[in-house]
C-alpha cells in the first residue's frame, strides 16, 4: 500500500459545504450577547492637525455609548517597538488615535460606539471634526527627486535588498548588439478581499479577552494587542477560523482591531467593529511603482547587460520594501548587472504585501523587456529565454535546489500551441480582431521559517492536529488534514485539524506562499513524534503483538500499526490507547529549517504562462481568449485546491494587466474609486479559457514535503504574458498599467 494515500490527491475543501451554505462564521458574525457596535470615522484631509472635535450632535443620538478619539482614549504606549508586528517594515508604525496629527487621507480618527450598528453609523456621520490643513505631497511622479535607499530592518531578512553590481553594465550595454530601454509604471492596488476587516471582542473580565479577528495571523494579532494594551499574552486569545480572503491585507493587524479592543477594555463590554468598503482603501496596498529597464544582448541572443531600477511609494513613517529588481539576473545569467531599488516617502499610508508582492511588479518590467529584445533580434520569445536559461543562479552564485522551468516552457508551449505564434511584424487577424500570442516566465522565492504543531490521538480513534495558522481560503485546512492523515495512516474523516486560534501552537503569519511548507512540515514532525510514542506503547503491550519489531519494520495503515513483512500482524491504534488506560497520546514539535543547508541553494518556484489575446483592430478592446500556465513548485499536496490557487492567480494577472488600479487624486490627496463598482476587477465575462499544468518537480532540499508553495507563483507570469501578447497582436507596447481602453487607438 502507498504511504501517501492523501498527499497528492485531489481532495475537495473539507469546509466547502459550510462555506457555501453560510455556516462558516467570519469575525463579524459572532453574535455574542450584549454586543456594542463601533463605527470608525476617518480623516477627510490628507495632512494637518485636528483642532477640535465637536461631539454634541453625535452624542445626542439615542444609543450612543462613547466616542473615542485622540483626546479620549485609553493609554497607549509611546515607543515604536511596542507597535511592531510580524510584518512591520522598518520605521515608526502608525498609532491609531494617538495624537491630533493627520498623516494620510482616510486616517482613522474616532470610533463611535453605540448599542446598535445603525446608531453608531449615524452618530459617526454627525461628528464634526475641525482641522488645520497643511500642504501635502502624495504624487510619486513629481517627487522622484526625493527617492532614497530603503532602511534595513527585520523585514529585509525575508525580502532582501538588491545585490550589488556585477561586471560593468554601462560598457556592456553600450557594446550590445540589441538594446531595449523600458519605462514602466503602475498605480497603487488595494487587496479588497470580499470579507471586510472586522473584529468582535469578547470582554471576559479579569483582563481576559477573546477576539474574533479578520487576520492572516492569530498570533500576530495576539502579540500586537497584548503589547499595546499591556495585557498578558496568555490572557488574549485571537480566533480566526474562517478568513474571507486576505491576499496580504491581513498580514498586519489593521486599525479596527485596536479600536475594537480599546472600546471593549474601556467600556468593559463586548464590542464589534467592522470596516466599510471605502475604509478598505485606507491602509496597506501594493505600492505605486515606476521601473526603468535597460537590457542588452548579443546578435545571437545572449543577454549581456541588465539594468533594472525601481522607485516605489512608501509612507513618511515606514519604509515598506519588496523584491522588485532581483529576479532578472536569477532567471537570466548576464554578467553585467546594475540593480537599484528606492523609495519615495509620501503622505500616503504605508504599502503592504499584496499577493506576489514585488515579484509581480518586477517581472512585468523584466519579461516585457525580454520580449522587446527578442523582437529586435528576430528570435522567438521562448527560444530567447531558452538561450538564456540559467542552470545556476549567477546572481547569488548558487545552484538551484531544483528548477523545472524548462519543463514548464515545454509543456506549456505544447499545450498552448505556441509553435503557431506569428512574429509581431506579421498581422494575424480573426475577423476585425488582431490575434496576439505572448508568454512570460515566473519566479517566486521559497521562504523557510520555523513553525510548530501538536498532534493528539484520542480514545475514540481520532487524530487531532493543531496550529495557530489561519486559512485565508486557499485550502490550508484540507491540505494540513491530508498531511496528518498520511503520517498516521488514517482516512481523512479520522483527522481533525484545529487552526485559526492563537491558543494552538505558534505559527508565523500566513503569507509568502510558505504556509504549506512551514506548518505542513511542523505537522509532519509532530505526527512523527506521536507515531513514535504510539509505537513505543505498542511494543510493550500485553503479549508483545509486534514481537521485537523496530520502528522501521512497521507502517501505520488504516488506523493500525502493521508489520511490513506480515500485514496480518497488526495492532489497532485504539487498542494502543486502551492499553494507555484510555488516555489520549499527544506530541508537539517545532520544525526549524536547516538554514545553513538551505542557504547553499537558491530556492524558488517557477512558472511559464502562454496567453492569447484578441484586440479589436479599430476599437482597441482587448480580450484574453485563452491562457495556459505551467507551474513547477515542487510536490503538489492537493491538485484540486492547487489548481484553484493557480486559476485565481491567473485571473489576478488579467486584473493587473487590464483592470486593477486605485486612482489617486494628487490634488485632493486621496483615492477616489474606493468601491467595487469603480475599482475594477475582471468579471466572468472577461475570463475565458484558462488551463493549468503542474510540472513534476522533485526537491529534497527545501523541506521534508518537497513543497515550494503556490500562493503567488500563479500571479507572476500572467500579466507580462498579456502585455507581450498585446504587443504581438498590435505592435504596440503599453508601459503604463493597467492597459486601458483607449491605449491602443
Amino acid at each position: 500500500m502507498n504511504e501517501h494515500e492523501q498527499i497528492g490527491q485531489p481532495r475537495r475543501r473539507i469546509e466547502g459545504a459550510r462555506k457555501v451554505t453560510g455556516q462558516a462564521k467570519y469575525a463579524a458574525e459572532y453574535n455574542v450577547p450584549d454586543l456594542l457596535y463601533g463605527y470608525i470615522v476617518n480623516s477627510t484631509i490628507t495632512r494637518g492637525r485636528i483642532t477640535a472635535i465637536d461631539e454634541a450632535a453625535a452624542r445626542s443620538v439615542a444609543g450612543v455609548v462613547e466616542i473615542f478619539h485622540h483626546e479620549r482614549r485609553s493609554k497607549l504606549p509611546g515607543f515604536d517597538v511596542i507597535y511592531s508586528d510580524m510584518d512591520a517594515p522598518p520605521g515608526s508604525p502608525f498609532r491609531p488615535l494617538y495624537d491630533a496629527n493627520i498623516r494620510f487621507n482616510g486616517q482613522p480618527i474616532a470610533l463611535v460606539v453605540a448599542e446598535t450598528f445603525e446608531a453608531a453609523r449615524y452618530a459617526a456621520s454627525l461628528l464634526n471634526i475641525h482641522y488645520e490643513e497643511e500642504s501635502f505631497d502624495v504624487d510619486l511622479l513629481t517627487n522622484l527627486a526625493r527617492a532614497r535607499k530603503p532602511s534595513k530592518g527585520l523585514a529585509t531578512l525575508i525580502k532582501p535588498l538588491p545585490p550589488g553590481p556585477r561586471g560593468d553594465f554601462e560598457t556592456a550595454y553600450a557594446q550590445a548588439d540589441a538594446r531595449f530601454e523600458g519605462h514602466f509604471h503602475h498605480g497603487s492596488q488595494h487587496h479588497n478581499p470580499l470579507e471586510l476587516f472586522a473584529t468582535t471582542t469578547v470582554y471576559e473580565g479579569d483582563g481576559k479577552l477573546t477576539i474574533y479577528d479578520k487576520t492572516q495571523g492569530t498570533t500576530n494579532s495576539q502579540l500586537y494587542v497584548s503589547n499595546l494594551f499591556g495585557l498578558s499574552f496568555r490572557d488574549v486569545r485571537v480566533i480566526a477560523p474562517f478568513v474571507g480572503g486576505g491576499f496580504g491585507s491581513g498580514l498586519r493587524p489593521q486599525y479596527q482591531l485596536v479600536l475594537c479592543v480599546m472600546a471593549a477594555l474601556q467600556l468593559r463590554r463586548n464590542v464589534r467593529v467592522v470596516m466599510d468598503r471605502a475604509q478598505m482603501f485606507t491602509f496597506g496596498h501594493r505600492p505605486e511603482t515606476i521601473q526603468h529597464t535597460r537590457f542588452g544582448a548579443t546578435a545571437d541572443g545572449k543577454l549581456t547587460a541588465i539594468n533594472h531600477v525601481a522607485l516605489a511609494e512608501t509612507s513618511r513613517f515606514e519604509d515598506y520594501n519588496e523584491v522588485v529588481v532581483n529576479h532578472a539576473n536569477m532567471l537570466y545569467p548576464a554578467d553585467n548587472v546594475a540593480l537599484d531599488y528606492k523609495l519615495v516617502p509620501l503622505d500616503r499610508f504605508t504599502p503592504l504585501d499584496m499577493r506576489a508582492p514585488g515579484g509581480s511588479t518586477g517581472m512585468l518590467a523584466i519579461e516585457t523587456t525580454m520580449d522587446q529584445l527578442a523582437d529586435q533580434l528576430g528570435i522567438d520569445p521562448l527560444e530567447f529565454r531558452l538561450r538564456n536559461y540559467a542552470e545556476r543562479d549567477v546572481s547569488a552564485d548558487k545552484p538551484y535546489s531544483s528548477k523545472e522551468l524548462r519543463e514548464c516552457y515545454r509543456q506549456g508551449a505544447e499545450r498552448f500551441g505556441w509553435s503557431e505564434r506569428k512574429p509581431t511584424a506579421e498581422v494575424n487577424r480573426r475577423g476585425n480582431r488582431l490575434v496576439g500570442h505572448g508568454m512570460s516566465s515566473g519566479i517566486w522565492d521559497v521562504i523557510a521559517l520555523p513553525g510548530k504543531a501538536s498532534a493528539e490521538f484520542t480514545a475514540d480513534g481520532k487524530l487531532i492536529v493543531s496550529s495557530a495558522v489561519t486559512d485565508n481560503g486557499q485550502g490550508t485546512y484540507t491540505v494540513m488534514t491530508q498531511i496528518a492523515a498520511d503520517e498516521l495512516g488514517l482516512p481523512l474523516e479520522a483527522v481533525s485539524f484545529q487552526y485559526g486560534d492563537s491558543r494552538h501552537p505558534l505559527s508565523p503569519i500566513q503569507g509568502g506562499s510558505y504556509t504549506t511548507a512551514v506548518i505542513g512540515s511542523a505537522i509532519k514532525a509532530a505526527c512523527r513524534a506521536l507515531r513514535s510514542k504510539l509505537f513505543k506503547l505498542a511494543q510493550i503491550m500485553d503479549g508483545f503483538p509486534l514481537g521485537d519489531a523496530l520502528p522501521e519494520d512497521v507502517r501505520f495503515v488504516d488506523g493500525a500499526i502493521v508489520l511490513k513483512k506480515d500485514p496480518f500482524i497488526r495492532v489497532s491504534l485504539t487498542d494502543v490507547i486502551a492499553f494507555n488506560h484510555g488516555k489520549s497520546v499527544t506530541a508537539s514539535k517545532s520544525n526549524i529549517p536547516n538554514i545553513f543547508r538551505l542557504k547553499q541553494y537558491t530556492r524558488a518556484a517557477h512558472a511559464a504562462s502562454f496567453v492569447e489575446v484578441e484586440v479589436d483592430e479599430q476599437l482597441g478592446i482587448i480580450n484574453v481568449t485563452r491562457a495556459v500556465t505551467a507551474v513547477a513548485a515542487g510536490a503538489i499536496m492537493n491538485p484540486h485546491t492547487a489548481r484553484s490557487q493557480i486559476l485565481g492567480g491567473m485571473v489576478w494577472g488579467i486584473s493587473m494587466a487590464l483592470h486593477e488600479e486605485t486612482l489617486l487624486d494628487v490634488n485632493l490627496g486621496k483615492y477616489i474609486n474606493t468601491d467595487l463598482g469603480e475599482y475594477h476587477l475582471p468579471v466572468h465575462a472577461d475570463i475565458h479559457d484558462l488551463d493549468v499544468i503542474f510540472v513534476e518537480e522533485h526537491d529534497d532540499v527545501i523541506n521534508e514535503l518537497g513543497a515550494k508553495g503556490i500562493g503567488e507563483i500563479g500571479v507572476i507570469s500572467m500579466a507580462p504574458a498579456i502585455v507581450n501578447a498585446v504587443y504581438n497582436a498590435t505592435g504596440k507596447l503599453v508601459q503604463v498599467f493597467p492597459i486601458k481602453v483607449g491605449d491602443l487607438l
Binding site: Y122, L668, A685
Partner: protein, 339 residues
C-alpha cells in the same frame, strides 16, 4: 437615527400630493440608485413615497398610433424581455441588457433609470468639492481623474456624464416621457428631458419639483431591421460606458432612408446631432458615410486629459456601430464590438 417618513402610494394623484408634503420628499421605485446615494450621504429624503404599489404604472401597452407605452414602474429586465419590445424595439432591448447586472435590472425601473445620477467619482465622495452636489464648491474632475467624463456639451462648472444606457436608445428612438405633477400632466420629448450642465449642474433634467414619471412612450418607428448598440467599457460587464452608440437605420434599395445615432458616455445627456443623421440620408451605408456623420456628431468635442481618447474612440465606434446595425444578427451579447 436617520429618520424619515414613508408612505406607499395608492394612486398617481396621491403619490404626487404625498411627495409635496415635505420639502425633501422623494419617490422610490427600484431603489437601486436612491439607496446608494442615501448611503453615501448625498441625499436625505424626509419623506419617501413608494411607487411600487401603483399597478397602473406597471404595464406595457400598445398605443393607437402603433407605438408602445412603457410603464414607469416596469422593471428594466421585464421591459427588455417583453415580446413587443423585442420584436419592435430590439435596439432598446439590447441597450437595456448592456447595463448593470441581471439582479440590478430586475429591481431597476424605467422611470428610475431616466433619473439615475452621474457616476463621477467626485460626485460620490461627499468630502470632495463638486458643483453638482454642492453648487459653487468647484469641479475637481476638470483637473483630476476625468477618464469617465464628458467631451461634449460640458461646462466650466461640470464635466460629468449621464450614465444611463437605456436613455441612449430612447434618444435614438425619440421617445416621449409622460409626467404628472402638482400642475397636472404633460409630455416631454426625450431630447428635452435631460439637460446640459451649464451654470446649473445640480439639475440633471427638466422634470419639475414633485413631478412623477408615468410612462415612456415609443413612437411606431422601431428600426427593428437595422439597429445596433455598442458599449465600450473597461470590462465586459458591470461597468458604465466610456463611449456607447445606439444606431437605428431604415434602408431602402441599398440607401439610408432614415438614420438615428445617439451617443452615451460622452455628455451630460444622450448626444444627438440632427445634421449628422440628415447627412446619411440617401447615402449607401458605408464606413465613409458614417465617418462623415461622426465628424458632425463630434464637432467641438474637447478632452480634459484622461478622457482625450474618447474623441477618437467615439468616432470609430460610430463607424463600427453603423456597420453593425446593417446586420443585427451578428451582434455579440453585452453590446460588445462585433462583425
Amino acid at each position: 437615527m436617520n429618520n424619515f417618513n414613508y408612505t406607499k402610494a395608492e394612486s398617481i394623484d396621491q403619490a404626487v400630493s404625498a411627495v409635496a408634503t415635505q420639502s425633501e420628499g422623494q419617490f422610490i421605485a427600484g431603489g437601486t440608485n436612491l439607496i446608494d446615494l442615501w448611503k453615501y450621504d448625498l441625499t436625505h429624503p424626509e419623506m419617501l413615497v413608494d411607487l411600487n404599489g401603483l399597478s397602473e404604472l406597471k404595464a406595457i401597452s400598445e398605443l393607437p398610433d402603433g407605438g408602445l407605452r412603457l410603464g414607469a414602474l416596469v422593471s428594466n429586465n421585464a421591459t427588455a424581455y417583453h415580446p413587443l419590445v423585442q420584436e419592435r424595439y430590439p435596439l432598446l432591448s439590447r441597450t437595456i441588457l448592456a447595463g448593470a447586472t441581471a439582479q440590478i435590472r430586475n429591481s431597476a425601473t424605467n422611470g428610475g433609470n431616466l433619473l439615475q445620477r452621474t457616476r463621477c467619482y467626485y460626485f460620490y465622495d461627499a468630502a470632495s468639492p463638486c458643483n453638482k452636489r454642492n453648487p459653487g464648491s468647484g469641479c475637481p474632475a476638470i483637473t483630476g481623474h476625468n477618464r469617465l467624463h464628458a467631451i461634449l456639451g460640458e461646462s466650466e462648472h461640470c464635466i460629468a456624464v449621464y450614465p444611463s444606457d437605456m436613455s441612449v436608445a430612447l434618444a435614438a428612438l425619440e421617445a416621449t416621457v409622460r409626467v404628472t405633477g402638482p400642475e397636472g400632466a404633460r409630455e416631454i420629448p426625450i431630447a428635452d428631458f435631460h439637460r446640459l450642465p451649464g451654470a446649473e449642474p445640480a439639475r440633471d433634467n427638466t422634470l419639475g419639483a414633485g413631478e412623477l414619471i408615468t410612462s415612456i412612450d415609443l413612437p411606431s418607428t422601431g428600426f427593428a431591421d437595422h439597429h445596433s448598440y455598442l458599449k465600450l467599457r473597461d470590462r465586459n460587464s458591470y461597468a458604465f460606458a466610456l463611449v456607447s452608440v445606439a444606431t437605428g437605420l431604415e434602408i431602402e434599395g441599398g440607401r439610408i432612408r432614415n438614420a438615428r445615432i445617439a451617443l452615451g458616455g460622452v455628455a451630460h445627456k444622450p448626444w444627438r446631432v440632427p445634421a449628422a443623421e440628415a447627412i446619411l440620408v440617401d447615402k449607401a451605408p458605408t464606413p465613409e458615410a458614417f465617418a462623415e456623420a461622426a465628424d458632425l456628431l463630434l464637432a467641438g468635442a474637447t478632452g480634459y486629459g484622461h478622457n482625450d481618447f474618447k474623441i477618437e474612440l467615439a468616432r470609430r465606434a460610430i463607424i463600427r456601430n453603423g456597420m453593425m446595425a446593417l446586420d443585427p444578427s451578428t451582434q455579440r451579447p453585452g453590446a460588445q464590438p462585433s462583425l
